[in-house]
Amino acid sequence: MQGRGTAVRLPADIDTDLIIAGRYLRTKDRSIWATHVLEDLDPALAPRLKGAVIVAGKNFGCGSSREQAALALREAGVVAVIAPSFARIFFRNAINIGLPLIESDLACEEGSPVIFDLSGGWVDTGGERHTIRPLSPRMQEILRAGGLVEYWRAQR
């Protein structure tokens, strides 16, 4: 699985309340999540997430189990999230909806191009290649299927 995007840097401990606030959760209109994603951190951020690879600090996605957080990032056009560590529920949620996550503490400049290959186990930032820890075989299968819904639909 390969992908590419532009680095958008975020700090450590971004919680899921911050990614999508509770006041936007109860809706069937998913475009609302894309519009308001990370609004309480920076109201001008959402439009910049189209084609972005988020490069964040540790413990990304901590707090509430709300899957809308992962969906909001995906709907806003985020290609992947790179962080030294993820909160475990967010980790499962993101893979389950087909949003690639990469555990790595690589450093890179805001706006620099990021290319990654999950099967190959590397990320390239501004010409520098980093080796990454592979996802578990099951998570790779789910991601390859496009998410857990597609994974189970194909199994049945």
Binding site: G22, C62, Q68, R138
Partner: protein
């Protein structure tokens, strides 16, 4: 009130009588060694009105048409219950229909918080319990492996009765001594989260052990397990002992104790309960904690007592003892964790004391904790809450949340500012 008669749990849970070896309780219940990936049948799976809506959508997309019968499935309405507007009501209407037309055990508006309901004699030692909510870790207090997932994982459990786990490494939290003064389980919970940090136990399980455990009631253990996710933990477990056995007997279950065996922990933390003082977590991190004394005098706009952390009967009774015959100096919202808690508080006069002191009562459930209804904060308002999260804007845009114990909430409500429960 809703009880759960249908599902008969397995009679010999692995964690109760399973192989003793050099294993943590998580390893014994999951039947594998830390680091291994396993597929396991889930004994009990539950979701609430928030995550249930998305789970139902995903389950239908997966091709789900009927639920299996081996797993106990539950849906509880607690997050925005009763519904705050037409959109929420419509979403809940669909989920309610689904729950009622399937094998689900359904708890409607007013029954209470999902974790509390699962803890009122439902979850048993040695079980594998998965909830579509991060605070599902609460049920680890019963010696069960209880963890949270998101909506799509829950949908897959509805589809197959199973899910995958990475067996976690464990953090040993060794407790000694007994509480002194006004310190309570919530202060101890804030103390360990502060020591571990918000991600100090990510991908790991906490195990609460040591001689200090036997002095802790079930309600106190539930508080300690509840906050384990605030340190990033996957679960927070206690071995079932006499206290657990007695509690579950009162709820109609005969269970055995789980014998702790020597095992290796990835991290260890020693805490003496006698050293714990009343603490407050300041905005906007649960791991940023100060002694209440330092913050005394900080003006408050609201006090909130309730949630899956501190909305149980013993919490309401403790609060009532402190405010009885006096008047609160700030708006104070008390939300019982369940209908049974409310019923008992009415029967024993605890509720009359609370209302008599000028507090108001909300429908049993999550209350304003997630910032949707029943006590949302305005810009610049400050709240002392007994909940478990004080993230930026969580209870309302521009509101500030300080987290503390029930005793600290009572002392602060009477003063209208943060006050130490030991000052009076």
């Amino acid at each position: 009130m809703q009880h759960y008669p249908r599902y008969t749990p397995k009679t010999d849970p692995a964690g109760a009588t399973g192989e003793l070896g050099m294993s943590t309780l998580s390893e014994r219940i999951l039947g594998a060694t830390a680091g291994e990936y396993v597929d396991r049948k889930v004994d009990r799976a539950y979701a609430h009105d928030g995550t249930g809506v998305l789970a139902l959508e995903a389950w239908k997309e997966m091709g789900g048409d009927r639920l299996g019968e081996e797993t106990g499935y539950y849906i509880q309405f607690d997050h925005i219950a009763p519904a705050n507007n037409g959109t929420t009501a419509t979403l809940q209407h669909e989920l309610r229909d689904f729950a009622r037309s399937s094998f689900m055990q359904f708890s409607d508006v007013g029954c209470g918080i999902c974790h509390q309901l699962m803890g009122e004699g439902v979850v048993l030692p040695g079980e594998i319990v998965v909830g579509a909510d991060s605070h599902s870790v609460t049920l680890g207090a019963f010696g069960a492996f209880a963890t949270g997932v998101g909506a799509t994982d829950m949908a897959a459990i509805w589809l197959t009765g199973e899910t995958w786990f990475r067996v976690p490494e464990s953090v040993g939290i060794h407790l000694a001594g007994r509480f002194t003064g006004a310190a309570e389980a919530k202060d101890l919970a804030l103390a360990y989260v502060a020591k571990l940090g918000m991600d100090g136990a990510t991908y790991q399980a906490l195990e609460f052990v040591g001689e200090g455990v036997r002095h802790l009631s079930m309600d106190e253990r539930l508080v300690l397990s509840n906050l384990s996710v605030e340190a990033g933990a996957k679960a927070g477990l206690f071995y079932a002992d006499d206290v657990t056995v007695r509690y579950l007997k009162e709820h109609g279950h005969e269970v055995s104790c789980q014998q702790a065996s020597p095992c290796s922990y990835r991290q260890e933390l020693d805490l003496d309960l006698a050293d714990i003082v009343p603490l407050v977590a300041i905005p906007h991190r649960v791991d940023t904690v100060r002694p209440v004394d330092i913050l005394a005098g900080l003006p408050l706009d609201q006090v909130f007592v309730g949630t899956c952390t501190n909305g149980r009967y013993s919490d309401l009774a403790r609060f009532a003892r402190m405010v009885r015959g006096r008047k609160v100096a700030v708006r104070t919202i008390v939300v019982p964790a369940s209908g049974l808690v409310l019923e008992k508080a009415i029967r024993t006069g605890v509720l009359a004391d609370i209302v008599g002191a000028g507090c108001t009562i909300g429908t049993p459930g999550c209350g304003p904790c997630l910032g949707y209804h029943m006590g949302v904060l305005g810009e610049g308002e400050v709240c002392l809450s007994t909940a478990n999260r004080n993230f930026r804007n969580r209870m309302g845009v521009g509101g500030e949340i300080y987290l503390g114990s029930v005793a600290t909430a009572a002392a602060s409500a009477l003063q209208g500012e943060i006050a130490s429960p030991e000052a009076g």
